[in-house]
């Protein structure tokens, strides 16, 4: 059931595809051509509204689209061919699914008459992607193409966002029909709930005001739901301590005194201790992930829990909550603020003062300290200097591992959508293509990619894309010659048996960067870190690859070992 506008004479499916993207306001598609999508590429070639970025591997296309979406308020779009094009895209799709990234991925498919015949470059894309998409479609008739694209964007961007795959057989792109792009769409089976239940909001406010040792815990949902401003107002109004998850960093300004840092496995001592001792927990847009909760039996043993989330299935999934509120975080936070005002009650000032005294004592632990006089480059120092020199205002992507945790701990994000990483799937290799997507969305911004020598090699080929489009990224390679996080676990839990965690035979990254047409720098002394970063940042129109030779033995602290409670951290 859709209202339609602007009819015209028959055009091909490929032209419908392009016109639909134009109607959606898509300005950029990340992709890679191939046999099944040749008609589409031909149609893209003959217009200029929708630009196309040619990546070097389809995984890079999807991650770049993710970076674009995560750092902006627009969905990411990727276009790949059938068969291997689609399978190469899977990691990116799964990554977007785990981190709720609004994405529409178009895959070519063999002609409808050949589906199921094991044709050249045929895979069952809808079948393969089913478990890692919010929804997917196979378009069997050109007449369904425009409506399906409309539905795909609608589903990807509303409710809890996520990736939607649209699989388009080649003959559908060649067939013709009249083009009418639906102005709006209604699906009887999909009605993302928006407003929180008024009664629940009242109950939540009563519980929130009754707290003696409150804690606010927020996740990626606040960033995705554009709830940062409302969250800041809500938190300041109450004067309660707040922590963000890895995915939620930047939703509340890191430089604010009420912010206790990130929580979880590598969260701060004060954030985890405050969680453990809280009597009322206000969880917003977070999903009680195992990297946050530690041992679920020991999680927040004293707390009554309010949980706000747009996805009802996230509520009481891992942890039973007392006051669930299903709704988009921004309007719910506004309603909570209004309800607080209407209630007129105030937080218990004496209790809150005692609670903050306790928190300050925990803060005194200085859990993120590291050896600043070391003769080796400390990875934390590099991140801290980068933060200083960029005024905390860069977009920062990371890969996965130790460097990711140091980036999260030491780059204080004051704004949302600035910290782009892979939290759920934990995908090594995302950092560089994420950064490309971010730079395309923000051509004038400083975009840093904090990575390691292992992760960066997983999508290294995209350095070529960066050269083609002259993306002036700053790549901070924290090179410790180890799969650092694997090595850390082997040191702690496998008596130092470093099985396969040593990165032998590394390339010369400086020469490699230069081979791709970029600037490469190798830094091995702490005294040179600041100068190198300054020099890199000064090269505004060049990609600079900074290869920092860091201390091999450095570990990420604090750490909650698997199976432990939040108050059972290993400290430095």
């Amino acid at each position: 059931m859709s209202e339609t506008s602007a009819s015209s004479t028959a055009i091909t499916g490929a032209e419908i595809f392009v016109r639909s993207l134009q109607a959606e306001g898509v300005d950029l598609v990340f992709g890679y051509p191939g046999g099944a999508v040749l008609h589409i590429y031909d149609a893209l070639y003959q217009q200029s509204e929708v630009s196309h970025v040619l990546v070097r591997h389809e995984q890079g296309a999807v991650h770049a689209a993710e970076g674009y979406a995560k750092s902006s308020d627009r969905p990411g779009v990727a276009l790949v061919t059938s068969g291997p094009g689609a399978t190469n895209a899977i990691t990116g799709i799964a990554d977007a699914y785990m981190d709720s990234v609004p994405l529409v991925v178009f895959t070519g498919q063999v002609p409808t008459s050949m589906i199921g015949n094991d044709a050249f470059q045929e895979v069952d894309t809808v079948g393969i992607t089913r478990p890692c998409v919010k929804h997917n479609f196979l378009v069997k008739d050109v007449k369904d193409l425009a409506t399906t694209i409309k539905k795909a964007f609608y589903i990807a961007t509303t409710g809890r966002p996520g990736p939607v795959v649209v699989d388009i057989p080649k003959d559908v792109t060649a067939d013709s029909c009249e083009f009418e792009y639906p102005e709006s769409i209604h699906m009887r089976s999909y009605n993302p709930k928006v407003r929180g239940h008024t009664g629940q909001i009242r109950r939540a406010v009563e519980l929130i005001l009754s707290a003696k040792q409150p804690m606010i815990y927020t996740g990626g949902g606040v960033v995705l739901g554009r709830g940062s401003e409302a969250l800041t107002e809500f938190t300041r109004k109450l004067g309660y301590p707040i922590t963000n998850t890895l995915m939620g960093l930047g939703a509340y300004p890191a430089s604010d005194d009420q912010f206790l840092g990130m929580l979880g496995m590598h969260g701060t001592y004060e954030a985890n201790m405050a969680m453990h001792h809280a009597d009322v927990l206000i969880a917003i847009g977070a999903r009680f992930d195992d990297r946050v909760t530690g041992n679920i039996e020991k999680f927040c043993p004293h707390a009554k829990i309010v949980h706000v989330d747009v996805d009802p299935a996230s509520i009481s999934k891992n942890v039973k909550v007392d006051v669930p509120i299903v709704g988009e975080v921004e309007p719910v936070l506004r309603e909570l603020i209004r309800a607080l005002e209407e209630n007129g009650g105030q937080p218990d000032a004496d209790a809150l003062k005692a609670w903050w005294d306790q928190i300050r004592e925990w803060r005194g632990q200085d859990c993120l300290k590291y050896d600043r006089d070391s003769e080796l480059i400390k990875p934390q120092y590099v991140v801290q200097k980068f933060w200083e020199l960029t005024g905390g205002d860069a977009f920062v992507t990371s890969d996965v591992g130790q460097h990711q945790m140091w980036a999260a701990q030491f780059y204080g994000f004051d704004k949302p959508n600035r910290w782009i990483n892979s939290g759920g799937l934990g995908t090594m290799g995302v950092g560089l293509p994420f950064a490309m997507g971010v730079q395309f969305a923000h051509p004038d911004a400083t975009v840093g990619c904090i990575t390691g020598e292992a992760s960066i090699q997983m999508c290294m080929q995209e350095l070529s894309t960066c050269y083609q489009y002259q993306l002036p990224l700053k790549i901070l390679n924290l090179n410790n010659r180890y799969l650092g996080m694997v090595r850390q676990w082997q040191e702690f839990f496998y008596q130092g048996r470093y099985a396969m965690s040593y990165m032998d035979a590394l390339p010369d990254f400086v020469k490699l960067a230069e081979a791709y047409g970029h600037v490469g720098m190798r830094i091995d002394k702490p005294a040179d870190v600041e100068g190198a970063l300054k020099e890199a940042l000064a090269q505004k129109d060049r990609l600079v690859f900074l290869d920092f030779i860091t201390d091999q033995s450095e570990n990420v602290y604090p750490m909650i070992p698997a199976g432990a409670g939040q108050n059972e951290m290993i400290l430095v």
Partner: protein
């Protein structure tokens, strides 16, 4: 605990595999699943029999609701309801006296003989699963060749209706 969940979903190719995939991906039990189009050909109705703690069944219903093709669902276990399963059983009856005895058993269980040859009967029987089990047990002395069971269908009693 055993739950019977009725689901109304878009009658589209792939909808069934989305549901089946959800159960296997998340490790939920599935005892039986029946599905067919309804009087409205754009809609399919599915009856799923599953088991799990209250928390798990709550997650199952939430995750089902999250599937884009699912329009509505009802946990029939929360309401007075009727459930039925059908079986067709092929049994050899070429020993003397078997024809009469099997016919008598079928009558007692209100089964119907729907195919007769010189050597076999096919019996159709409808009821709750436990009744079908009991009938199969009663047939144990006879050489049963084949059993086809439909899986459970369910509907709520009275005014409660799963409709859009």
């Amino acid at each position: 605990m055993r739950h019977i969940i009725s689901v109304l979903l878009e009658n589209e190719s792939g909808a069934l595999s989305r549901v089946a995939g959800l159960f296997s991906a998340r490790g939920y039990n599935i005892e039986s699943l029946t599905v067919a189009p309804t009087d409205d050909p754009t809609l399919a109705r599915m009856t799923i029999v599953t088991s799990g703690s209250e928390e798990i069944v709550e997650q199952i219903t939430k995750q089902l609701n999250k599937l884009i093709d699912v329009i509505k669902l009802l946990d029939l276990t929360s309401y007075p309801h009727i459930e039925r399963e059908m079986a067709m059983i092929k049994v050899s009856v070429d020993e003397p006296g078997d024809r009469e005895e099997v016919k008598r058993l079928a009558d007692i269980f209100r089964g119907r003989i729907i195919d007769v040859t010189r050597k076999t009967y096919v019996i159709e029987i409808t009821g709750e699963g436990s009744k079908l089990d009991a009938f199969l047990e009663a047939l144990e002395p006879f050489p049963v060749q084949e059993v086809v069971r439909s899986g459970v269908m369910g509907i709520a009693r009275g005014d409660v209706a799963l409709q859009i």
